[in-house]
């Protein structure tokens, strides 16, 4: 999987002034690649607004981590608050975008990313509220798993994180939008044909006239 391709495409979603939450895994890599000049506030659900990648020569503050446990720094205009205010912010829709990883997504926009029964059940964390309550939920994931199976399904089989919550899916092969009509192909990886993509995707795709590449 081409991680950088996904991250670079994800960064194009960011606009001046937004409040953004980054899930553990692929999404947190956005912090490593983003221009420090972009005026964005990253929210971390352990209680801060204004997270910034720590520079290598900065001293570490052991009390300053993100929700994934990584040492971070803060930008000018940052604030700290307790966990109830942090999720108040999330449930009130004040976080504009959340980027999350996924085990499975489906053409209805449902997301499964917190539990694989029998294999992986570390708890729900903040995922359910972020997925259900953020206005724009953007999924970053590989298009297919290691065995080549599509992660973009007609219907999720794993326990859901939230139903019909996804706005956009960015994989290494495509950018897909969830619409009332179904899953619309917006952009395709430049080294792939539409036929190849369809063959590698379980979900039904709506193919419009104009498709971008990335």
């Amino acid at each position: 999987m081409n991680v950088n391709k996904i991250i670079n495409r994800a960064i194009q979603e960011l606009k001046y002034g937004q409040i953004v939450n980054l899930g553990i895994g692929l999404p947190t890599k956005i912090l490593d690649h983003i221009s420090p000049d972009l005026d964005i506030f990253f929210q971390s659900e352990n209680g801060l607004l204004g997270a910034k990648k720590i520079s290598e020569d900065s001293p570490i503050n052991p009390e300053l981590i993100d929700a994934g446990g990584t040492y971070i720094d803060i930008r000018s205009g940052a604030s700290f608050f307790d966990s109830s205010v942090s999720f108040a912010m999330i449930r009130r829709g004040k976080v504009d975008i959340t980027f999350m990883g996924a085990f499975e997504v489906d053409q209805e926009g449902s997301l499964a990313n917190w539990k694989i029964p029998g294999y992986f059940s570390p708890g729900i964390g903040g995922a359910m509220e972020l997925a259900q309550k953020t206005p724009k939920v953007i999924i970053l994931c590989s298009h297919n798993d290691k065995k080549g199976n599509s992660k973009i399904l007609k219907k999720c089989k794993l326990p859901l994180t939230a139903k019909k919550c996804i706005t956009r899916i960015i994989t290494d092969k495509a950018v897909l939008d969830v619409t009332n009509e179904g899953l619309v192909l917006k952009e395709i990886a430049e080294d792939l044909t539409v036929e190849e993509l369809i063959a590698q995707t379980d979900a039904q795709l709506i193919i419009p006239q104009n498709i971008g590449t990335f």
Partner: protein, 228 residues
């Protein structure tokens, strides 16, 4: 109230077997490692521990769990502690999971002297049994009960003798909520300061919620570790 300072062994000795204990912290920041270590030393058993996570193995509440002192863990996410995940999978530890913000709000609701609240979080998922849903103002909602506890163990950056607390950066997290929700609140702080050095506008936890204060004379290595 007034001078609430007390020796760590004396105040931890007030915790009986079977107590429910809220423990502050999200990962390492805000975790009261010294109070936990003393609880491990004294060895109270059959505890119910309420904490956002299980710390990492060999530190924090993981020590209590590994030592068999904990019957039940009420938490949100234990993914960074393989030992505790393993104990849960082998059914040696009862773990009750909530979405993180729901766990925070259950504790906040108790702290406000209420008995529960209505939410729609997770109602389309397996964490909700449809039979529990009630109809309120034309919405299908779930009642989440308030979560009280016998004790809270809190780590504050600063405290005065009255127990006015200030937390450092991301170490706030669950601490102020738990300080309101528990019946007996025990605080550890490396900095016992004069009241006049604290700004009354910037107290995170007012003294009314604090029962006992332990001055931590030095911070162990655990306070310097990477978080979560």
């Amino acid at each position: 109230m007034m001078n609430k300072q007390i020796a760590i062994e004396d105040v931890i000795a007030t915790i009986p077997d079977g107590a429910s204990i809220m423990v502050g912290g999200f990962g390492n920041p805000g975790t009261p490692f010294a109070l936990i270590n003393e609880l491990r030393r004294q060895g109270q058993r059959n505890l119910v521990i309420i904490k956002n996570d299980a710390n990492e193995d060999s530190i924090g509440i993981s020590k209590l769990i590994e030592n068999g002192q904990v019957d039940k863990l009420i938490t949100s996410h234990i993914g960074l502690n393989k030992v505790v995940v393993e104990l849960m999978n082998r059914q040696l530890l009862n773990v009750e999971f909530y979405p993180q913000g729901i766990l925070a709000e259950k504790i906040r609701n108790a702290g406000a002297g209420c008995f529960g609240f209505l939410t729609d979080v997770g109602i389309d998922t397996e964490i909700t049994d449809k039979s529990q849903l009630i109809k309120f103002q034309d919405k299908e909602l779930k009642i989440e009960s308030a979560l009280y506890a016998d004790f809270a163990l809190i780590h504050a950056q600063n405290s005065d003798n009255y127990g006015n607390l200030v937390y450092g950066s991301a170490a706030m997290n669950f601490n102020p909520l738990m300080a309101m929700a528990a019946n007996q609140v025990i605080v550890e702080t490396p900095n016992l300061v004069s009241s006049d050095s604290l700004s009354p506008e910037h107290i995170h936890t007012p003294s009314a919620f604090v029962n006992s204060i332990v001055k931590v004379e030095f911070l162990t290595h655990e306070y310097q570790l990477a978080g979560a």
